[in-house]
C-alpha cells in the first residue's frame, strides 16, 4: 500500500521541528514496516506548465510544430519569445495549458528505471525542445491517450507542476502484511491517526468521521428493500439511491487523478474516482450499481436487494467480462435473488454503470472477511477493495462514508437504507497501570498511558487503580488487556523500554539428544572420515523415488507443491544424494563421499500420540567406492561412537526396504539386535537410472535408535613394558571359506595364549577366480605382560595358532 506523506500531514498538526526522515523512521519503528520510501520531488524536476501559443500540423505527418510559452523557465531556449516543441498528440491545440518537460529533465514515468532523459533534438527537420507530456509520461496513468491539459484556473505558464499538484511529496510503500490486523490503517485517515499517536499529539477526526451516525433523509417515496439473510455474511448493509448529477466531462488533469496516482490507482470517471478516493481516505470500499438495470434484472415490481451465500453452481458475469462459477463461500448481492455482484470483490456486468446510467445505487457495506478471503483465492481477485474488505472493515463506519459520498456528489438521496443487524455493544477493556508496566518492563505513569490512548481515539476512565478503556469502533482488533498493552508499548516506542535479562538458576540446560548426536556425527564424518555434508530438499519428485526403486505411494504427498520436482516428502535420503552425486561428477569432482542427516517420514511409520506423522532422523552416505571402502567408514564411525555394531547379509526384508542396494553386495546393520539400516553397492539398474557408470555405494541409517544405544566408553588397555614381536602371517584356506571365520578363529587362538596382541588384516590373494584356495595375510604384533618373549616361546605361539587354525582348514604358509 502506498501512503502519501503530504496527505498524512494534512490530517494532523505535525510539530514543525520534525524532519521528514525522523517522521519516516518513527512510522517505521512504531506503526508499519516500510518497504520503500519514494521521493517524488526529483521525478518532477524540470516539469513545467506551459501555454501552447501555436500548434501547426507538419505536412504528411501526425506531428504538430508547437510554440510554447514556459514563462520564466529556461529563458535560454526562448527564441522570438517562444520555445519550439514538436508534439505528436492529436489534442494539442493553441491556447491550451500543457505540461512541458524541459530538455535535460527525465521523463517522470521512467524515473528510477530507464531514466529517459530528454534533450533538444530534430524531428522531421524541426528542432524540438523537450516534450509536451501525457498523463502516462507523468506517471499518473498507464494508458497513453493524449497530452495532459491543465485547468487555467489553477496555474500560470512557467509554474512547476509539482507546486500546483503537491508533487513535492514522499510516498511510503508499506508492507500490507504488517497491518493485516489493522483495517483502520488501510485508510489514510486511520494511518494519520496512528502517526498522531506516535508523535504524541491528539488527533482531530476529519469531517467524515465526526458523526458516525449521520441522519440521511430520503427525498422521495422510492421503494427499496434490503434483506440480509445471514448476519455473519454481512453485519451491515447501507445504500442510497440517487439520480446521477449532470456532469460535464473534465478534460483537465485533476488533483483527484494525482491523488489516485500517488496511491497507485488511476482516474476513470468522476463517480468511480470519488468512491476510490473515499476508499483510500477511509478504508471503506463503495460500489455503484445502475439502479434501473438492477430493478430490471430482478423482474419484480418492488426492487429488493438480498444478500446471501452463493448456491452451488451459480454463475455470474463480472464487470471485467469474465463469467465465474461461484463457490458456496461466495457472498452474492442479488436483485430479488438474481445475482448482481460478487460481494466485496466485483460488480456484475448486468448492473454496470455506463453512459446510459441515470440513477445509481451506491453501496457501503461490510462482509465476512473469512468468506471474502476464500472468494479472493477462488477467483483470483486482488483489487484494492477486496484487500481492505479482507481485513474486516468495521461496520460502524459504513453509513458515515456513504454520507460523505452523497455530500461530495451534492445529491439528495431518493432512498437510503441502513440494515445493521450486526451492531455490537461498546467494547470496554479494563486494565491496570501496573499490569501494563509489568508486561512491558516499564514505569509509565497512568497519565502518560491515558494520554497516549486518548490521542488515537480511545476513551479512558481512571477509577482507583483501574483504567476503563472504551475502544474506538474502528479498532475491531482490540479485545484483551494485552491488546491495550501493545498499543501503549508501541505508541510510546518499544525502543524506549529499558533492557534487562532474565535471571536463571544453575540447573543447567538439556539439548535434544538427536541434535547432540548429529553434532557428534558431523565431527566424525567430516573431520575424521573426510566426508562432505550436504543438505538437500525434503521434498523430492516421484520420479526420483522410483529411480531409487522406492514406492512413492508410501510417501506423504504435498498437494500444493511448487512443482512435480517437489511433490513427495522423502522417506529416505540416499536417493537425493545419488542425484547430487551425478551433478558433482559432472562438475569434475572425483573420489568423494557425501552424507546428509535429516528428518524423513513415510506413512507406514504411523502417527505419534499427537496424531502427527512419525518422523525419523536418517543419515545417508554415498561414496564413489566399493562395499569394502564404505564398510571401513561405517565401522570406523561406530567405533568412534563407541556403539557396538553388528552386520549381517541383507535379509529379504531389508532388501525390500533398501531396494537400491545390490543384495549380494550389501549388508544390513544392527544395534542391540535391531536393524537400523543397511549399506552396500548400488544395483546395476539403479546406477543406470542415476546415470552413474562407476562404482557407487550407499548407506542409509536411522539415527534415532542410536540415542539410547549403550556406549562402550571404558577401554581395555594392554600396554606391556616388554618389547613386542611382529610377524606377518599368511593362511591358506579353501576359497569358499568366509574371511570372518578365519579371522574369528585367529582371534580366539590368540586370546587363549595369555599374550597382549593386535591383529590386522593385510591382504587376500587368490590366484584366479576359479582357484580352489586363497591366501589370507595378517599382520600380528604381540608381547607378554610379564617378560620379554624368547624364540622358543614365539615358536610355541605360532605353532599353537597353526594347530588351532587347522580346525577351520587353514594352514600357515
Amino acid at each position: 500500500m502506498r501512503i502519501s506523506l503530504n496527505t498524512i500531514k494534512q490530517y494532523l498538526n505535525i510539530p514543525e521541528n520534525i524532519p521528514d526522515q525522523d517522521l519516516i523512521d518513527l512510522i517505521g519503528s512504531r506503526l508499519v514496516e516500510i518497504e520503500e520510501v519514494i521521493d517524488l520531488a526529483p521525478r518532477y524536476e524540470g516539469v513545467y506548465v506551459a501555454k501552447v501559443i501555436s500548434a501547426e500540423l507538419i505536412p504528411d505527418t501526425h506531428l504538430h510544430l508547437c510554440q510554447i510559452d514556459a514563462g520564466a523557465a529556461r529563458p535560454d531556449l526562448v527564441k522570438d519569445g517562444k520555445i519550439q516543441v514538436v508534439c505528436g498528440a492529436p489534442n494539442v491545440h493553441a491556447g491550451m495549458l500543457a505540461v512541458w518537460i524541459m530538455p535535460g529533465a527525465i521523463v517522470p514515468a521512467t524515473y528510477g528505471n530507464e531514466n529517459f532523459k530528454l534533450g533538444v533534438r530534430k524531428l522531421r527537420g524541426f528542432e524540438s525542445n523537450g516534450m509536451l507530456a501525457g498523463a502516462d509520461e507523468l506517471g499518473f496513468d498507464t494508458e497513453h491517450k493524449s497530452i495532459a491539459e491543465i485547468d487555467p484556473a489553477l496555474a500560470e505558464p512557467g509554474e512547476l507542476l509539482s507546486e500546483i499538484f503537491g508533487l513535492d511529496d514522499i510516498i511510503l510503500d508499506v508492507e500490507n502484511k504488517s497491518l493485516t490486523h489493522r483495517p483502520d490503517c488501510f485508510g489514510l485517515i486511520g494511518f494519520a491517526r496512528e502517526v498522531a499517536g506516535i508523535l504524541g499529539v491528539p488527533f482531530t477526526e476529519p469531517t467524515v468521521f465526526q458523526n458516525l451516525s449521520p441522519k440521511l433523509h430520503a427525498s422521495s417515496e422510492l421503494q427499496l428493500e434490503v434483506e440480509i439473510q445471514d448476519t455473519d455474511l454481512c453485519p451491515r448493509y447501507n445504500c442510497a439511491v440517487f439520480d446521477l448529477p449532470k456532469n460535464t466531462p473534465n478534460k483537465y488533469l485533476t488533483a483527484e487523478a494525482i491523488f489516485l496516482a500517488k496511491a497507485g490507482m488511476r482516474a476513470i470517471d468522476p463517480i468511480v474516482d470519488l468512491t476510490n478516493i473515499l476508499m483510500l481516505e477511509t478504508g471503506q470500499p463503495l460500489h455503484a450499481f445502475d439502479y434501473d438495470k438492477l430493478v430490471a434484472v430482478g423482474r419484480a415490481d418492488r426492487p429488493k436487494i438480498i444478500i446471501r451465500a452463493a448456491e452451488p453452481g451459480e454463475t455470474l458475469q463480472l464487470l471485467d467480462g469474465k463469467t465465474i462459477e461461484c463457490i458456496t463461500d461466495d457472498i452474492l448481492i442479488t436483485s430479488n435473488n438474481v445475482p448482481v455482484a460478487l460481494a466485496g470483490a466485483m460488480g456484475g456486468k448486468n448492473t454496470e454503470v455506463d453512459l446510459s446510467t441515470k440513477r445509481i445505487i451506491l453501496e457501503s457495506a461490510t462482509f465476512s472477511l473469512y468468506r471474502l478471503r476464500k472468494t479472493q483465492m477462488a477467483h483470483g481477485i486482488f483489487s484494492e477493495a477486496i484487500t481492505r474488505f479482507t481485513k474486516g472493515q468495521p461496520a460502524a463506519m459504513t453509513l458515515a462514508v456513504l454520507a460523505a459520498a452523497l455530500h461530495e456528489l451534492r445529491v439528495d438521496p431518493l432512498a437510503v437504507i441502513d440494515n445493521y443487524p450486526g451492531k455490537s455493544p461498546a467494547n470496554v477493556v479494563r486494565i491496570t497501570t501496573l499490569s501494563i508496566n509489568t508486561l512491558l518492563g516499564t514505569d509509565y505513569p497512568t497519565s502518560t498511558i491515558s494520554q497516549t490512548l486518548e490521542n488515537v481515539g480511545f476513551q479512558v476512565k481512571v477509577q482507583d487503580d483501574e483504567l476503563r478503556i472504551t475502544v474506538p469502533v474502528w479498532r475491531t482488533d482490540i479485545h484483551l488487556p494485552e491488546d491495550i498493552i501493545e498499543e501503549v508499548g508501541r505508541l510510546l516506542g518499544y525502543d524506549n523500554i529499558p533492557l534487562s535479562l532474565p535471571v536463571h538458576s544453575f540447573s543447567g540446560t538439556e539439548i535434544d539428544p538427536i541434535f547432540s548426536l548429529k553434532s557428534q556425527l558431523r565431527n566424525i564424518l567430516s573431520d575424521r572420515l573426510a566426508m562432505h555434508e550436504l543438505i538437500t530438499y525434503s521434498f523430492v519428485s516421484r520420479r526420483l523415488l522410483e529411480k531409487a526403486g522406492l514406492d512413492p505411494v508410501d510417501c506423504y504427498e504435498i498437494t500444493n507443491s511448487i512443482s512435480p520436482e517437489l511433490e513427495c516428502f522423502r522417506s529416505q535420503i540416499a536417493p537425493s544424494l545419488l542425484d547430487k552425486t551425478r551433478d558433482n561428477l559432472k562438475a569434475g569432482h572425483r573420489d568423494f563421499t557425501l552424507y546428509e542427516m535429516n528428518q524423513v517420514s513415510q506413512k507406514s511409520y504411523g502417527l505419534t500420540d499427537e496424531g502427527t506423522p512419525t518422523l525419523q532422523t536418517h543419515l545417508a552416505i554415498i561414496t564413489l567406492a566399493d562395499f569394502y571402502h564404505l564398510k571401513a567408514a561405517v565401522l570406523a564411525l561406530f567405533a568412534q561412537l563407541k556403539i557396538k555394531l553388528e552386520y549381517t547379509a541383507l535379509s529379504a526384508e531389508a532388501a525390500k526396504q533398501y531396494p537400491y542396494l545390490e543384495p549380494k553386495r550389501s549388508a544390513e546393520l544392527q544395534v542391540n539386535g535391531r536393524r537400523i539400516g543397511a549399506f552396500g553397492e548400488l544395483r546395476h539398474s539403479i546406477a543406470t537410472n542415476f546415470k552413474l557408470d562407476l562404482m557407487v555405494s550407499a548407506c542409509e541409517i536411522s539415527l534415532d535408535p542410536l540415542i539410547d544405544a549403550p556406549r562402550q566408553l571404558s577401554v581395555d588397555l594392554h600396554l606391556s613394558r616388554f618389547p613386542s614381536v611382529e610377524r606377518d602371517l599368511t593362511l591358506k584356506v579353501s576359497a569358499d571359506i568366509a574371511f570372518g571365520r578365519v579371522d574369528q578363529a585367529l582371534e580366539e587362538s590368540l586370546s587363549r595364549q595369555g599374550i597382549y596382541y593386535t591383529l590386522s588384516p593385510l591382504s587376500i590373494y587368490q590366484a584366479s577366480p576359479t582357484a580352489d584356495t586363497k591366501n589370507l595375510s595378517f599382520h600380528l604384533r604381540f608381547s607378554r605382560p610379564d617378560k620379554t618373549l624368547d624364540s622358543t616361546e614365539i615358536s610355541a605361539i605360532i605353532d599353537t595358532i597353526a594347530k588351532d587354525l587347522a580346525a577351520v582348514g587353514a594352514t600357515i604358509v
Binding site: 519503528s29 512504531r30 502484511k177 504488517s178 497491518l179 493485516t180 490486523h181 473469512y370 478471503r373 509489568t438 508486561l439 518492563g441 516499564t442 484483551l480 494485552e482 518499544y494 525502543d495 523500554i497 533492557l499 534487562s500 535479562l501 532474565p502 536463571h504 538458576s505 540447573s507 540446560t509 538439556e510 539439548i511 541434535f515 548429529k518 558431523r522 567430516s526 573431520d527 572420515l529 562432505h532 555434508e533 550436504l534 543438505i535 538437500t536 530438499y537 525434503s538 521434498f539 506423504y556 504435498i558 500444493n560 507443491s561 511448487i562 516428502f569 547430487k580 551433478d583 558433482n584 562438475a587 563421499t593 557425501l594 528428518q599 517420514s601 499427537e610 496424531g611 502427527t612 506423522p613
Partner: protein, 313 residues
C-alpha cells in the same frame, strides 16, 4: 685455517684476557670486564652464524612455491566439510544453551493444530495466508515456522514453572514456505525459535535477551531496535533489527526476525495460567545469519548439493 677455526682461536685468546682482571686496580676492573664480555658475546654470535652457514652449505635449496618435490607425488590431504548452515545452527544452539535455554529440535511434518490453532490463529484468518504453507493429502503441514513447536515446548517444560523455575527453550529446525525460490527466497530453510516463560518475563527482558544473543554471536557490543509486527501468537508483537556488526562492515540495521510477548491464549492452551505467568518468544532465520557471515548473495547455494560450494568453507 677455516673462518670458524680462526674465530674459535680468537675466543680462546679472549679467555686468557680474563686472567688480567685480577692484575688491574679495583676501580678499572668493572669496565675492563664489561668490555671483555661484550667482545665475547660478539664472537660467540659470529661463530654460531658461521657454523649455521657451514651446515647448510651442502643442502640443496627447494622451490617453496611448488606444491610438491620434483619427481615426487603430490601430498594428499583427505578432508571433509561440514555444511556451513549446520555449523551455524550448532553455533546458535551452543549460545542459547550457554544462556540457559534447553534445546528441542523442530519437526518437519506437523498438523494444523500445532502450526496454527495452538498459536491463536483464528480459523480461516488472513494471517494464515501469510505463511504460505504446504499441505499433504492428509492435511498435515510441513511447518512454515519453528513456532509450530511452541505448544510442545510449553507443555514439555511446564514442570519447571511449578517447581519455581522458568521455561526457557531454543528450537532450531527446518521449515518450509510455498514460495518460488530466488536469490533471497527458498522454499526450504532453517529457523531458530526462542521461548521463555516465567513469573516476571517482560518486553525489556525480551529485547535484553535478543541483544545479548547477538552480542555473543558476533562477539561485540551492539544495539537492537524494533519495528511493529503482527503475529497472532504474540501480543505485543514486533520485528527486531540489530545494528550491523563491525565484522559485516558496520553502519545500518539488519532485520533479524519477529518477536513478542506470548499471547495469553497460547499460554492458556498449553495449560499455563496467563495471570500468573508471562512469556516471550522470537524466531529468526539461520540461512540469513550464514549468508551475512560469508557474504553470500544467493540462498539457493545451501541446498544445491554442490561440492564446489562446500569446498569454499
Amino acid at each position: 685455517m677455516s673462518d670458524i677455526e680462526k674465530l674459535r682461536a680468537e675466543l680462546k685468546a679472549l679467555g686468557a684476557e680474563y686472567a688480567k682482571i685480577k692484575t688491574l686496580p679495583p676501580e678499572d676492573r668493572g669496565k675492563f670486564g664489561r668490555e671483555l664480555n661484550a667482545k665475547k658475546q660478539q664472537l660467540l654470535s659470529r661463530i654460531a652464524h658461521a657454523e649455521a652457514e657451514a651446515e647448510s652449505a651442502n643442502v640443496a635449496p627447494i622451490d617453496i612455491s611448488a606444491p610438491c618435490a620434483i619427481n615426487s607425488p603430490l601430498p594428499r590431504l583427505l578432508h571433509g566439510t561440514k555444511h556451513p548452515l549446520m555449523v551455524e545452527l550448532d553455533h546458535v544452539v551452543a549460545i542459547y544453551s550457554d544462556m540457559g535455554f534447553d534445546v528441542m529440535e523442530s519437526c518437519q511434518l506437523d498438523d494444523e493444530f500445532h502450526m496454527f490453532d495452538s498459536l491463536n490463529f483464528p480459523q480461516a484468518h488472513p494471517a494464515r495466508d501469510g505463511y504460505d504453507t504446504f499441505r499433504t493429502t492428509e492435511n498435515f503441514i510441513p511447518p512454515a515456522h519453528t513456532s509450530t513447536m511452541q505448544h510442545r515446548a510449553l507443555k514439555k517444560y511446564q514442570h519447571k514453572l511449578t517447581s519455581g523455575g522458568q521455561i526457557a527453550v531454543g528450537i532450531p529446525g527446518r521449515v518450509f514456505r510455498n514460495e518460488d525460490a530466488d536469490a533471497t527466497h527458498e522454499h526450504t530453510f532453517y529457523q531458530c525459535e526462542g521461548v521463555l516463560v516465567s513469573e516476571d518475563a517482560n518486553m525489556g527482558q525480551l529485547f535484553g535477551v535478543l541483544k545479548r544473543f547477538f552480542e555473543l554471536y558476533y562477539g561485540q557490543k551492539l544495539n537492537i531496535k524494533t519495528q511493529p509486527g503482527y503475529f497472532p501468537f504474540t501480543e505485543p508483537s514486533a520485528e527486531f533489527l540489530i545494528e550491523k556488526p563491525a565484522s559485516l562492515g558496520g553502519k545500518g540495521w539488519l532485520e533479524m526476525g519477529g518477536c513478542g510477548m506470548i499471547h495469553p491464549n497460547v499460554l492458556k492452551m498449553a495449560g499455563i495460567d496467563p495471570q500468573q505467568y508471562h512469556g516471550f518468544a522470537w524466531g529468526g532465520g539461520i540461512d540469513r545469519l550464514a549468508m551475512l557471515k560469508y557474504g553470500l548473495s544467493d540462498v539457493r547455494y545451501f541446498e544445491s548439493g554442490k561440492l564446489d560450494f562446500l569446498e569454499e568453507f
